[in-house]
Symmetry: C2
Subunit: 530 residues, 2 copies
């Protein structure tokens, strides 16, 4: 499979005028072929202009056509076969089985959104029919639904080269909502990005949709910023670092016409181990923690990075078990040399704080000159934790910090001091949990998802998922970036007053041709308007 | 009814330490009794701390209790009787009949939200039951619903002293969602604000809810800014000027932890008169326009401020009719001396632009030294309109600008150049409208509500209303500030994974005790979980 190394604007390769860069094999630090070319300002402008030109046709196309587009993208990705997997392995260091699973998840996600588009009720149709005789004043005919917000800029993430990248959750949900998409390719997997962008472009053509609904632009932060600041951009989806997400949010908020940014950023995903659970199943908890915080070499947004537990002899046993497991755990190639370096630095920042002791491995993690992220666990007292906010920051990679508390109230105080998180997890027996209602209530206010007796990694893609949370977990606590509700980020309501039937969108006509769940006079029903 | 002139923090009058100010009778420019006292930083802090302290009890109280609170507030407002109306007339210059109508709307709105809370399906409950045998990995039990976002700061608006002020749409929707509210009273009607705040506080007490769920703070921009920047504030509702709304938005976006601001700001609400309609019912259109742009002395967010029409002899007749009506129209007392002054300035700014001719009244509007806002109409060519962006800005008051176009394409070009609006209106015959589909599609992308053969003033409060629109109409196009969907502004999703039944909120348990519409495995149903 030959790569041309260029941005793809509305289905066509762009010029090769921009700075040249290469993908790096993180396992060897070797440059990969071919040359890639950063997008130029003209490419950014062309992509957004093509998106706007295509928007009206796309937003008004039948839902069935939009559903087929999503399914065609999935089929085209699958048709890339092993060549895609091989390229992504080279670019990311992720193992084949993981990438096969992630590809399945990505295609499943596209097909799930196709189902949502076909069913159609997500538009939240509301009809208040005219009441010409109402006193003191008549009511006009009022009909409201969600329509797509406009061109969406999506930033590919390094840690999910399929599921949160070119045709990942942000792209799938924006296309499902009816929005054109311009992807800023992540520089760590440009070949993967080009291959997937080709698949998307072919699907767009196959479905008879305008090519402008999808473009891919290569480049670094300057290109990203140009995309966010472009006057035709209507919304932004981003998954990555706090610094990166905040910079985009600030740029978007300071535009003449501000636009929403859905940045999913940093999270330490606290876990609380209650005493009954520690007593009943300490070794299983240790094993579960290890699996969760080292999954994908710890490079998940939902990696549990903090473990709160009461200081007692059963906890000592659990910790010993965990330390034994960590010492035996193999390191894994991290996604990029930069992530590997940052992991080492962040580990040292945390383990260098007062009162923190590294339990495993024997040498301070991150010291060695290797592409591997070596699993590591450290420990600190709750009192020292409370005093040092650095200990509640994220070290992206296979590291977790155990916080030993002297009393349940101390755990509550630590949780109270935490910033917003994607997830929180509590392990407990029935009796533990019954006594922890106040803690659960507090956690619910701090996070987007609370997990009981499970682990936060492994984010299921369905209707009920919420992958979001109060700042700094995300920049917009009101929305999820995973699951079917993610398309609500890219929609906005419009009300049609006094419209004749034939000028209304299908979904709002008296006859409910698509069988949507609608609110008529405030009541949910699939009936026609009487 | 005696007024104490102080802020009300969690049901109690605050200290009288802040700067003293007075309400002004806009008809006479006379100061009204008593002294009012601006809130101090300590009052702001006390209000937010009380809100947070009360939040957990309030958010978890039964929906029935929240519904009764909203109904009790309505009853308490009604119980204020004529004393309230008299005070508001003095403070706002608005006539009795208008205030009676607005009070009815405000109480109706509170009761409407009570119904929404009781019905309960707005929380968008989603349940994906566990699939322990799913391949390749099991699905955990996942349940998601909307929960309240936290304390909401509401800015009272001057132009709707009941419906968009202390117990107006923002407060009603925030309380309905389960959020404590801190109101920044508008300085133009502090006595009205105190009376309504007393009514709310009594209702809170009657319903056995914690007093901290409602506070009222008097003060100017500094107090408002302190409320928006307070770390415990979770969201902001505002209706007012673009400068004011943007300043609050910028402050909120630049917080360490940014929060959403729903600012409903400026809109010129374009009207397009298509030729068939002008021919068929020119005089009726002239009368309808006059009524709409002078309603409430033109002090409505939805006042039609621009009228696009083709240049021809029937248009000449319509314009002459309108001019005759405007010349005979009586002026009305404007809400405050400041608004009166700004109206004059804005009219002069627009009518002073190149090519603009004032059609009525004979003297340039706004010149005289009077509290009255005198209806005025001016005219300009589409070519001159396109060249001068000032002509598309809002003059808050009874002024409208007719834009004469030489061809339909010129109207489209003018509309294309407009910024975001709350509303757009099109008058046309069936044939006109059939030929204007592209124009309607364009308008739909520019505004929050498109009106056909009606007028934009008179915003119905129901399920299907959308009062919002692209920037600068509002700072968040994804939400409405009027109608039942307004409470979605103040809610956010949370997902409960692996919860035992007895720890789940009622709404997410297997047994659907409240009969909510929920999504189970993505399918909408009122069934229990099987």
């Amino acid at each position: 499979m030959t790569l041309h190394g260029k941005s793809i604007i509305a289905g066509q390769p762009a010029s090769a005028g921009g700075n040249v860069f290469h993908a790096i094999n993180p396992a060897t630090a070797a440059e990969l072929e071919p040359d890639f070319h950063e997008g130029l300002p003209a490419d950014v402008n062309a992509a957004l202009n093509a998106a706007v030109a295509a928007f009206n046709d796309f937003r008004t196309c039948p839902p069935e056509q939009r559903a087929r587009l999503l399914e065609s993208i999935a089929a085209e990705i699958e048709a890339l076969g092993d060549a895609l997997l091989q390229r992504t392995m080279l670019e990311t260091g992720l193992p084949l089985v993981r990438l096969q699973g992630e590809r399945a998840r990505t295609c499943g996600q596209l097909r799930l959104f196709a189902g949502v588009v076909r069913e159609g009720s997500w538009i939240d149709a509301r009809i208040d029919p005219a009441l010409p005789d109402r006193q003191p004043i008549p009511r006009p005919d009022l009909r409201r639904m969600l329509i797509p917000i406009g061109p969406v800029v999506v930033f590919g993430a390094s840690n999910f080269p399929y599921a949160f990248s070119v045709a990942g959750g942000d792209t799938a949900s924006a296309l499902a909502a009816g929005c054109p998409v311009v992807v800023k390719a992540h520089g760590a997997h440009p070949g993967t990005s080009e291959l997937i962008a080709g698949a998307v472009s072919r699907a767009v053509a196959t479905c008879g949709l305008p090519a402008g609904i999808f473009s891919l632009v290569h480049g670094g932060p300057a290109v990203g910023m140009a995309l966010v600041k472009h006057p035709l951009t209507a919304a932004v989806g981003f998954t990555g670092s706090h610094a990166g997400g905040r910079a985009l949010f600030d740029a978007a908020a300071s535009r003449t016409h501000p636009i929403p940014v859905f940045a999913e950023m940093s999270s330490v995903n606290p876990v609380v181990l209650l005493p009954g659970a520690v007593r009943e199943r300490g070794p299983a908890l240790a094993q579960g923690l290890l699996t969760s915080f080292t999954l994908g070499v710890g490079q998940f947004c939902t990696k549990p990075g903090l473990v709160f537990v009461l200081r007692d002899s059963e906890t000592d046993t659990l910790v010993s078990t965990l330390v034994g497991l960590v010492e035996k755990a193999a390191g894994g190639t991290m996604l990029s040399p930069g992530i590997r370096t940052a992991f080492g630095e962040n580990c040292r920042r945390i383990t260098g704080a007062r009162g923190v002791s590294v339990l495993a491995p024997a040498s301070t993690p991150g010291g060695a000159d290797t592409p591997l992220g070596q699993p590591a666990v450290a420990m600190v007292s709750a009192a020292d934790f409370m005093d040092q906010p650095v200990l509640a920051t994220e070290a992206f990679g296979p590291f977790t910090l155990i916080v030993l508390a002297d009393a349940p109230d101390q755990i509550t105080a630590c949780v109270h001091a935490l910033e917003g998180q994607l997830t929180a997890t509590v392990h407990g027996t029935s009796a533990d949990l019954d006594g922890a209602r106040a803690l659960l209530s507090l956690l619910e206010q701090k996070v987007g998802r609370v997990v009981i007796n499970g682990f936060p990694t492994g984010v299921d893609v369905g209707a009920a998922m919420n992958h979001g949370g109060p700042y700094p977990a995300t920049t917009d606590v009101r929305f999820t970036s995973v699951g079917t509700a993610a398309l609500l980020r890219f929609a906005r309501p419009v009300c049609y007053q006094g419209y004749p039937q034939d000028l209304l969108p299908d979904a709002l006509r008296d006859r409910n041709v698509h069988g949507l769940m609608r609110r008529i006079d405030g009541q949910l029903t699939r009936d026609d308007v009487a």
